[in-house]
Amino acid sequence: MGMKRVAVFATAAAFAFTLTACGKEGTPTASGDSNASGAAPVSDTCQSSGTTFTADSAAAVAGSTTFDKIKSAGKVVVGVKFDQPNLGYKDTSGTRCGFDIEIAQYIASKLGVDKAKIEYKEIPSANRETAIKGGEIDYYVGTYSITDKRKADVAFAGPYFVAGQDLLVRKDESAITGKDTLKGKKVCSATGSTPIQRVKDEKLTEPENIVEFKTYSECVSQLLDKKVDAVTTDDAILKGYAAQNPADLKVVGQPFSEEKYGIGLPHDDKALRDFVNNQLEAAFKDGTWKKIYDGTLGKSGSPATTPTLERY
């Protein structure tokens, strides 16, 4: 009986392992074969924009409890995304890169924290407010749209980027040219996200054609498998995927919304909010912002307009 049990367990384990392997197969990080056929070299290895951030040892933010906490801890805890190529990304070797990551590093340096002392926490969208309110993270940089509702729970510095909802389609797609050509097409986005709710509210496609997954990577997988016809969210995110797999994917390029990305901060720390806003303004002016953009999202070929701060 003992041996028999072991054998049965081994079989089951082997089967479970096979399933795991299959499940992974569905998640497209930059895949090997598209690299071979793609025109541009694609890689999921992180490349920074080459901007150097020197920690400001004289940093001081008068009256900021968050800053005091950072200073005494000697490190900063930053909430980020990890699955958005060129935005907030972690490659297979564990290196982080992308536009949001470098903005986070820039702010950290201005707070007097060296790049090596940044502790990244991967916080899912649904938990952002909780993580900031609970003090789990010091600030959050990760495609975090500024909304009035969220301002009740957290504070925003910025916007440091203005994105717009767009569509990612297969390279050979010719029928989808903008938001009004989605009727009868399957459209995928993250569960409950603002983009998918806009598709529902504006009835851009039929309710049965709306597909929702936890991550955009899963949507992209379904797109490549032809189970959906378009992935919709902010163009910044989509261009990251298109740049990863230019042989199979393209972004339509007709944005139909405006999302202002802000840096999420503790609600009552106005001193820190003003400080971060000042630093962002400086980065807009001295070219740091543009350098970060050009070295990350800018690689998609689309130009960016420097955003205007909205202090409140």
Binding site: T11, A13, L19, C22, G26, R128, G192, D225
Partner: protein, 218 residues
């Protein structure tokens, strides 16, 4: 307190759609897994070795596989093999396949509570295996099966929330929506808990009813 109520009243349609799909998914999967589970249970107690082997293998493989992987296999891997389900069907199939393994074991342990003399007597009367099972053994086994059966069904009802990750807008997807609306997560989650308690209540009542109905003086 009014905040707490507003979370529900402001998003009535979302809660309605979410829990509506949860109930739909549950009912379909419940019928599916009761049929498949009883069939597998019958396999496991059947006189044919190949069927017994099949039942045992199924239970040991499926019961040991995380439900999320069963979903992932149907949604991400199956299309690569040109097997295409729509997402709701995939969810119903995943729940049915997974829960059947547990139902099968409930049926088998129920059958084991029936004295062997019952089946022997039925066979001596010339009944076939199917008749022995459906006419004599299962009706008596049901008595012992009711409590664990309900536990499995309640677990399955809660397992439907896994489908939220695979493009089915059910109760498990509500928190993602509410986060996007900026509603307080604590209240949202409380309402979802309340929703599930309400859904489970009828199952508890059904269990009581069946236990009373099937009770015999021993």
């Amino acid at each position: 307190m009014s905040d707490f109520l507003h979370v529900l009243t402001d998003h009535w349609s979302l809660f309605g759609e979410g829990f509506g799909n949860t109930v739909k998914l549950f009912l379909i999967a419940a019928v599916g897994c009761l049929i498949l589970g009883v069939l597998l249970g019958a396999f496991r107690v059947s006189p044919i070795p190949a069927l017994r082997w099949f039942g045992a293998t199924y239970v040991n493989i499926v019961r040991n596989t995380p439900l999320t992987l069963v979903f992932a296999f149907l949604v991400f891997a199956a299309p690569k093999l040109d097997v295409n389900f729509d997402y709701f069907t995939a969810a119903a199939v995943a729940l049915t396949v997974y829960t059947s393994a547990f139902i099968c074991e409930v049926v088998r342990s129920g059958v084991n509570t029936v004295a062997p003399g019952q089946a022997e007597a039925a066979r001596a009367l010339g009944l076939s295996f199917a008749q022995v099972l459906t006419e004599v053994v299962l009706p008596q086994a049901l008595r012992a099966m009711v409590p664990p059966l309900m536990s499995v069904l309640i677990a399955m009802l809660k397992n439907t929330t896994v489908a939220a990750g695979f493009s089915v807008v059910e109760a498990g997807a509500i928190p993602s929506y509410m986060a996007e609306f900026g509603e307080p997560q604590f209240y949202v989650l409380l309402w979802i808990v309340i929703g599930f308690l309400v859904l489970i209540a009828p199952l508890v009542v059904l269990q009581r009813f069946l236990e009373r109905k099937l009770a015999v003086a021993r």
